[in-house]
């Protein structure tokens, strides 16, 4: 196991290099650069810059170096955990990402948690009533949910319950009300929760669909196993057979899906944040893509890739932890 882990962790680095190199080359090969965008004024909204200042800026951020040299520089700084400064406002990339990460993570985390809490009972119910009306209804509804694009659902939800012509129950935009800074801590928290309800719902239902399908299949598999028959044969009440024997074993594969769903939910959060104007990672990414803010784009890519790689690794480790029968030798 230790050898396996060490090998897996060592393999993370070449993958990470590949991802960052690909992103870096994409940024560098695309026309224009951040200094030109800022200096040009006009559409990009920047102040006009003198040629001298622009030259200085290009040199400062190494925009004049050949792509591979600049990439090597970037890697050299990054291994010392220095992601550089944003070209747009000269603040450190780590700080810019740090102030946005909590919102995105809390959004993705609560969406995943809620999908699990709803999806497992749904999947188990469908498996227990296999082939009956309950099963077919759940499967169909889940399938329809799975096919609804989250952005369309978000728009219709805003229209129906948030500030549209119909119900006006929830706030429409933003992470907090305008007067949030003056609120007490409890009122602030409640305000935040109200603002998060719709975004979380939109993020939840898609992963809910895939998790409940997994839950159903895995529960069906568990119910067909010998130990379930044994449990029934020795006269255990059906409740115990299902919850103590079948469900516990069915949960093994479902738990590990957590790690695979996390990147998907974070990816979905990008769109949802943009619809609800939430100041999270997604918004930061759109801003930096617009301004070609190379250090920030690279920082976000690294963070996203590291999180994805670690969650895949976590999935593999979780397998062993929850199921002692599996070993990596």
């Amino acid at each position: 196991m230790t050898t396996y882990l060490i090998r897996r962790i060592l393999l993370l680095f070449p993958t990470l290099l590949g991802i960052t190199l690909l992103t870096f080359l994409l940024i560098r090969l695309s026309p224009g650069n951040a200094a030109l965008l800022r200096g040009g004024g006009g559409e990009s909204g920047g102040r006009a810059m003198t040629a001298e200042v622009r030259e200085q800026m290009i040199r400062l951020y190494g925009l004049d170096k050949p792509p591979l040299v600049a990439y090597a520089d970037w890697v050299g700084r990054s291994v010392r955990l220095d992601l550089g400064n944003s070209i747009v406002d000269h603040r450190s990339v780590a700080a810019k990402i740090g102030e946005r990460l909590p919102l995105t993570m809390s959004l993705a985390g609560s969406a995943l948690l809620i999908s699990y809490l709803v999806a497992i009972p749904l999947g188990v119910a469908a498996a227990l009533k296999r082939g009956q009306v309950v099963d077919r209804t759940i499967s169909f509804v889940v399938f329809v949910l799975y096919s609804i694009p989250s952005f369309a659902a978000a728009l219709l939800l805003i229209l129906l319950v948030a500030g549209g012509d119909y119900l006006n129950l929830l706030p429409m935009y933003g992470a907090n009300s305008i007067n949030a800074p003056e609120m007490g801590p409890l009122a602030w928290l409640w305000d935040r929760v109200l603002h998060m309800i719709l975004p979380v719902i939109c993020l939840t239902y898609a992963s809910l669909a895939s998790i409940s399908r997994y839950a159903r299949v895995s529960m069906l598999e568990a119910l067909g196993q010998d130990f379930v028959r044994t449990a029934r044969a020795k006269g255990l009440p059906e409740r115990l057979v299902i919850f103590r024997h079948a469900l516990r074993n069915a949960l093994i594969p479902i738990i590990t899906i957590f790690a695979l769903e996390l990147p998907v939910v974070i990816g979905g959060a990008v769109i949802i944040e943009s619809i609800f104007s939430l100041p999270g990672m997604g918004q930061l990414m759109f801003q930096s893509l617009d301004a070609k803010d190379e250090p920030v784009i690279m920082g976000i890519t690294v963070l996203a890739a590291v999180m994805t790689l670690l969650s895949y690794l976590a999935a593999d480790i979780l397998y062993v932890v929850v199921d002692p029968r599996i070993t990596y030798e």
Partner: protein, 382 residues
Amino acid sequence: MNIPHETGNETYAQRIRRHFMADSFARNGLRVIIALFIVAALAPFLANSHAIVRVADGRVTFPIFPSLEPIEWRFLLYVPMAALVYFLRAGFLRRPKFHFLFLIALIALIEVVLAVTHPVNDPTNDRNRAASFKLMPPIPYSPIESTPDQFSPPSWKHPCGTDSTGRDIAARLLHGARTSLSIGFVAQSIALLVGVTLGGLAGYYRGWLDIGVCRFIEIMDCFPPLLLILVAISLFESQNNMFYIMAVIGLTSWTGLARLVRGEFLRLSSQPFPQAAQALGASDFRVIVRHLLPNALGPILVSATFGVASAILIESSLSFLGFGMQAPTPSWGDVLSDARRYIDFAWWLAFFPGLAILMTIMSYNFVGEGLRDAVDPRLKVK
């Protein structure tokens, strides 16, 4: 579900067809997709500001035809292709794989050649022109034509309402069907080409090639969904024509197929039949294309069907975020993104395109599920 019993000697394709058609969801999904393709093909005749037939001053004219852009001829080319498929169907059933691949290549060719053109805003319309007889299309508005009726809710005149510049939503959706369907199809064909080639080579030759391909797949997979696409599209924004979007979506979504083909090839190439072919002196190319690929075709087709659904979803997300097709070209995601600004009252701007996307994706997913069950009944989750 009642699957009709096997009758006599049936081919693999016939067996898949029998199982597929026994699944009502899959069958109806396929019907919806075919209907969508027909609507997309005929879009200029269903929604156009030019009359189909116009009789004035004793002269009969067909104003609709001169108004067609090259991009609109594209889908019309599908009609002779459908006829071709119909007449060749005997050959299809006998050797499904090659005709199928040929067909995909042909459609992809048509798409790629014609994808780079943009619709031109043609201000003339025949609605108000006097004529002794004229036959207008059912929706007499062009998708890029602004009318004075702004924000009109659904009515007889505008069945799906109009947007902020008075464009008819029904016309935009009908024409947008072409954007979505062709991007889904071509993007997935590109993914199919890359995925099958890389996965096949890795699975057949193994060794260093396999390790290299696997690492590459891993790198591509570690980008969170949409991140790589957004970076590629937003940075090259000046080149956002349809083909570029198709290429970006295709080149970022081949990894699942490559994994699948690699796995199938690893499994198949250790079986006796490819070894027998090799012993008879068949070249590697022949073993791959004639012996291994046909045997892996079922799962590939299933995965490609789901892939089309996700490509359509990605395209509409991109248009929604404003990174998709350029302004005048109608697309479902684009109509939805207009809806964002006026969402507090204009429900029809969000509802109809949302429904169109939902229906399309759901149909593709149903067809994919049906195909999966038909290709390998053992996988079926009862």
